[in-house]
């Protein structure tokens, strides 16, 4: 690296040199480097990107409108048709194309997973940073809240809240996020407590750096790997909970989701015979969730070097 | 009693290269003798000790050489033979950090009792009684045998670890930086006690440390290690007062002596080699003010000068010149200029 590169790197608009954005970018870069040689992690990343692409292109890829009720040649509803050239994954009890439904279902799971996780970890990371750094009463009260949140049975709580606020996709996202933040808050807090004891924080205090600077420029970049890890876990939980809510019949009635497809298949008794209706949404659910767990495995090695061997 | 011949121990890295942590070590330890193993971090002293009782981590391996202990080659024994015949009954260890070396969920006494009963056929009461006696001997309250490690202070934990090391009266004790983590007062108490007890049970010891003053006071023989080799080996007095290896000379310069009123501390430039697939040549040559072409091209072999004084250096025969020049600041400073600006002022010498 040449000298001018150094200067360019140091040259963001803020008077304080390297911006927070770049630090996050660098943390991200080191996270990317981490995946080299990690086959499980790479597989996870590949799967997750595939799912995101599928979600974005579902309307293009889906052969039919998922709501269309197809009819057989004799004009009757094409119910529970086995997979064929026209319907690669057959049809369901209302003659709708399973493949198209599965593709559209990707959108719900990916959307809920990503958004709920980002909101939850954003809240959790900030709560963790602030409580751990300032301690005292703020810490006491917020951590008691986290304890209480752990004392609530998660799924029943989500269902009651979704029922109360309405089974709208955004509500589902918000309710899941409102309950999931506790995980990342607790872990980030623990990590900040150890980072806080490290000498570089003292060094920042000694030069007169502000609390904000210490929290967001010094400590945050060092807890980002663990925040990324908890984004991965939060995605997994959010996807599972959304699917569970839908399976119990409390999902957004306007949308097609994998959980809802399985709910319909199950209540119709289709698991006895119509495998083509049951297996695809279930398998995809499993793969979507496992993709983030595989990524999480690799991130975990980063946060806990002892797991490398 | 212990005779190490041409020992090579390597660590395999993820990149497929080998770190030659111990690279052809020859050493001897006589009975009731204390050998000091001195060197800086990464010189292979701890690897050597672990290789002796085959405790290398999974990526470590003894690739060549032999460790002859009382006429048995330890590298040839099966794991089970080694465990039953050698470990703890013949060779025990005093760790650097006693607190971490004791299992936190069992009492200290129970761990000593376990070690005794694993190797000796004796009743529980007898083992506990012996443990209490050991505690007494090490200046610990015998009622604390039922305490957990974390209830001990650092010094007490170290004593407990020594009790554990001595419980089977082994023939050889490996002490890996046994007092580095302690304050000087406690260090002094413990070193004195270890020496006394060692005499009492008539065992030998290998004391690993980076502290020249500790080995000078405690050990009969000293081996100075550098880059996986023994650079110089002799009795303590010779190593301290009449060393021949430039590295030993440099270390003497860098070490402050409390008994002196004026002393110029001189550092050795550069930093230790990384030992990944080392090339031919003396490993100290890049930092040595006396290095010549031969030093950079040919690996020096150990050579015996006076009785028992073994040196690995091509120029060890010019002892007077070396000792004279090495005590001057300019020698080490001048040498830096030959190496170029980067290495000159720093100790780092990263490969730029």
């Amino acid at each position: 690296m040449s000298f001018s590169d150094i200067l360019n790197r140091g040259g963001s608009d803020t008077p304080s040199g390297v911006g927070i954005g770049q630090r996050i970018r660098e943390a991200f870069q080191s996270t990317v480097d981490l995946f080299s040689g990690e086959r499980m992690g790479q597989f996870g990343v590949f799967l997750l990107i595939t799912f995101i692409l599928l979600a974005m292109t579902a309307p293009l890829l889906a052969p039919y409108n998922p709501d269309t009720r197809h009819e057989a040649e004799d004009g009757s509803l094409l119910r529970l048709a086995e997979p064929s050239g026209d319907h690669l994954l057959g049809t369901n009890h209302e003659g709708q194309d399973v493949l198209s439904q599965v593709l559209y279902g990707t959108q719900v799971s990916v959307f809920v997973g990503l958004f709920a996780a980002l909101i939850a970890v954003f809240i959790g990371t900030n709560v963790g940073l602030i409580t751990a750094y300032y301690g005292g009463l703020v810490d006491d009260i917020l951590m008691r809240l986290v304890d209480i949140a752990y004392g609530l049975p998660f799924l029943p709580f989500v269902i009651v809240l979704v029922f109360i606020f309405g089974a709208d996709l955004f509500n589902i996202v918000l309710v899941i996020a409102a309950l999931l933040w506790r995980d990342s808050a607790r872990v980030v807090r623990a990590e900040v407590l150890t980072q806080k004891e490290r000498d570089y924080v003292e060094s920042a205090e000694a030069i007169g750096a502000s609390d904000f600077r210490i929290l967001y420029r010094h400590i945050l970049p060092n807890v980002l790997p663990i925040a990324f890890l908890y984004i991965a876990f939060a995605i997994a939980y959010a996807v599972i909970f959304e699917a569970s809510i839908a399976f119990l019949g409390y999902g957004d009635p306007e949308l097609i989701s994998w959980g809802k497809m399985l709910y319909q298949a199950y209540t119709f008794g289709a698991i006895r015979f119509a495998w083509w209706w049951v297996i695809p949404p279930g398998i995809l659910l499993m793969f979507l969730v496992s993709s983030v767990f595989f990524i999480g495995r690799t991130l975990e090695k980063f946060t806990n070097p002892e797991l490398r061997h | 009693m212990l005779n190490i011949e041409n020992l090579h121990a390597h660590y395999h890295t993820d990149e497929g290269t080998d770190v030659h942590a111990v690279d052809g070590v020859d050493l001897e330890v006589g009975s009731n003798e204390t050998l000091g193993l001195v060197g800086e971090s990464g010189c292979g002293k701890t690897t050597l000790a672990k290789a002796l009782i085959r405790l290398l981590p999974t990526n470590g391996e003894i690739v060549d050489g032999s460790v002859n202990f009382k006429e048995t080659d330890l590298t040839e024994l099966s794991d089970e033979e080694l465990r039953k015949q050698i470990r703890w009954t013949e060779i025990s260890m005093i760790p650097q950090n006693a607190m971490n070396s004791l299992d936190p969920v069992h009492t200290v006494g129970a761990q000593i009792v376990q070690a005794i009963r694993t190797h000796e056929d004796c009743s529980k009461e007898e083992a506990w009684n012996r443990t209490r006696e050991l505690f007494e001997e090490l200046g610990l309250d015998e009622n604390r045998v039922k305490d957990y490690p974390h209830q001990f202070s650092g010094g007490m934990a170290q004593r407990a670890a020594i009790a554990l090391a001595l419980c089977l009266e082994p023939a050889l004790i490996l002490a890996d930086e046994p007092t580095t983590a302690l304050d000087v007062v406690v260090q002094d108490q413990i070193l004195t006690m270890v020496s006394e007890l060692q005499d009492e049970i008539d065992s030998s010891m290998i004391m690993i440390t980076h502290d020249m003053s500790v080995v000078s006071e405690t050990c009969d023989k000293i081996a100075v290690m550098y880059g996986g080799n023994v650079a110089e080996y002799a009795d303590s007095e010779t190593i301290i007062k009449n060393p021949r290896h430039p590295y030993t000379l440099g270390m003497r310069n860098a070490f402050p002596d409390i008994s002196k009123d004026t002393q110029e501390l001189i550092s050795i430039p550069g930093s230790p080699p990384d030992l990944i697939e080392p090339e031919e040549g003396c490993k100290f040559a890049p930092r040595c003010p006396f290095a010549q072409d031969e030093c950079r091209e040919v690996t020096p072999e150990p050579e015996e000068f006076e009785e028992g004084h073994v040196v690995r250096c091509h120029r060890a025969d010019e002892v007077e010149y070396l000792q004279e020049e090495a005590s001057k600041r300019e020698t080490w400073a001048e040498m830096k200029d030959d190496q170029g600006d980067l290495i000159s002022a720093t100790d780092g010498g990263t490969d730029e």
Binding site: I6, I207, G208 | D341
Partner: protein
């Protein structure tokens, strides 16, 4: 004493910690909080341009004292005069001015640099925080400082992450960061104890050179008396939150006047096989600075303890030129006893 210009004067400084308890404990407890008296009534002054050594065993409060002097801890009681201004009462901008004057060099080179910062950013940060100079000026200053601490070529080091550097190099980066604000006072807390022996000397050499060239005043904290003897003009010995002896470095080591100093010196191993040391064995270890005994704090371990030692805390006595010790052996009432505790250390020079 008056002939010396004082850089930092400390009067009756105290730093007590109360065990951190949670909300619930506070509600439930009946006021039985444990107080750790890490620094408990310390007086000394550091003269302009000198190297002042602070020694003691772990847990004696020397690091806490160092950090309190830098205003990194709020003091519980007492005053710290820095260039004749009391910094314990300063806040806001004055504090910021003090921050540029007094800097810290830390012990652990592997922990003291934020692993996410490059050397350049790390050394430049103090300038950013205090908004000093234009961007170009900052860059020049950083490069100059890197050169000064021996990280040459500075350009090559500037773009490195700390993980790519050796311990000695990192310690130099830490020194550069402390120097970039051009301070007049440094607290060096065990600056070489984590480094290899062969490297230590070069870092010490650098600190000595900076002291000469920049006229820095340094507080040198270490547990290693041999090192302090070679680095410092004067040394203070701490025990359980108090200074028990202070005096010129060589004089204090060669002829200690407090039984604790004597024991510390006599426990230090000597490399020269010709010098025999007289060992004074102390019983036990440094206790926690909670529930301190009345009277002399060292009494429970002191080999020379007398009945009077338990009565009240001894004051500092003048024991030799510029040397003071906190021990009633030096009280006139004991003039008949053998007070010459020194001479334990044979000297070879």
């Amino acid at each position: 004493m008056s002939s010396h210009q004082s850089k930092m004067r400390v009067e009756n400084l105290k730093k007590h910690f109360t065990a951190n308890q949670g909300l619930l404990d506070r509600l439930l407890s009946r006021g039985d909080r444990e107080v750790v008296k890490a620094v408990d009534g310390v007086n000394f002054d550091i003269r302009e341009g000198e190297s002042f050594g602070l020694a003691g065993e772990s847990g004696c409060g020397k690091s806490t004292l160092g950090k309190t002097l830098l205003n990194l801890h709020d003091s519980t009681d007492g005053s710290i005069y820095f260039d004749d201004a009391d910094i314990t009462t300063q806040t806001g901008r004055e504090d910021i001015a003090f921050r540029t004057e007094a800097q810290l060099i830390q012990q652990d080179p592997f922990n003291s640099i934020n692993p996410r910062y490059k050397v350049f950013d790390w050394v430049k940060e103090p300038l950013d925080v205090h908004s000093l100079g234009t961007r170009d000026e900052r860059t020049d200053l950083v490069m100059e400082t890197l050169n000064e601490v021996g990280l040459r070529p500075a350009e090559a080091y500037a773009s490195e992450y700390p993980t790519e550097l050796s311990g000695g190099e990192r310690q130099r980066v830490g020194i550069a960061r402390a120097l970039v604000l051009n301070p007049s006072f440094l607290v060096a807390d065990e600056p070489v104890s984590m480094l290899d022996v062969s490297v230590r000397a070069s870092v010490l050499e650098l600190l000595n050179r900076l002291k000469e060239e920049r006229g820095l005043t340094t507080l040198f904290i270490s547990h290693d008396l041999s090192l302090l003897k070679h680095m410092c003009d004067r040394i203070a010995i701490m025990y359980l939150g108090q200074i028990v002896e202070v005096g010129p470095a060589r004089q204090l080591i060669n002829d200690p006047q407090h039984p604790y100093t004597e024991a510390l010196v006599s426990s230090t191993p000597i490399i020269d096989p010709d010098v025999e040391r007289e060992r004074i064995r102390l019983e036990g270890e440094v206790p926690d600075p909670i529930n301190l005994p009345s009277g002399c704090r060292f009494a429970p371990r002191c080999p020379k303890v007398m009945d009077e030692c338990w009565d009240e805390e001894p004051r500092m006595y003048d024991v030799a030129e510029e040397q003071e010790a906190r021990c009633i052996l030096h009280d006139e009432a004991h003039a008949d006893k053998d007070v010459s505790v020194g001479g334990a250390q044979a000297t070879s020079d």
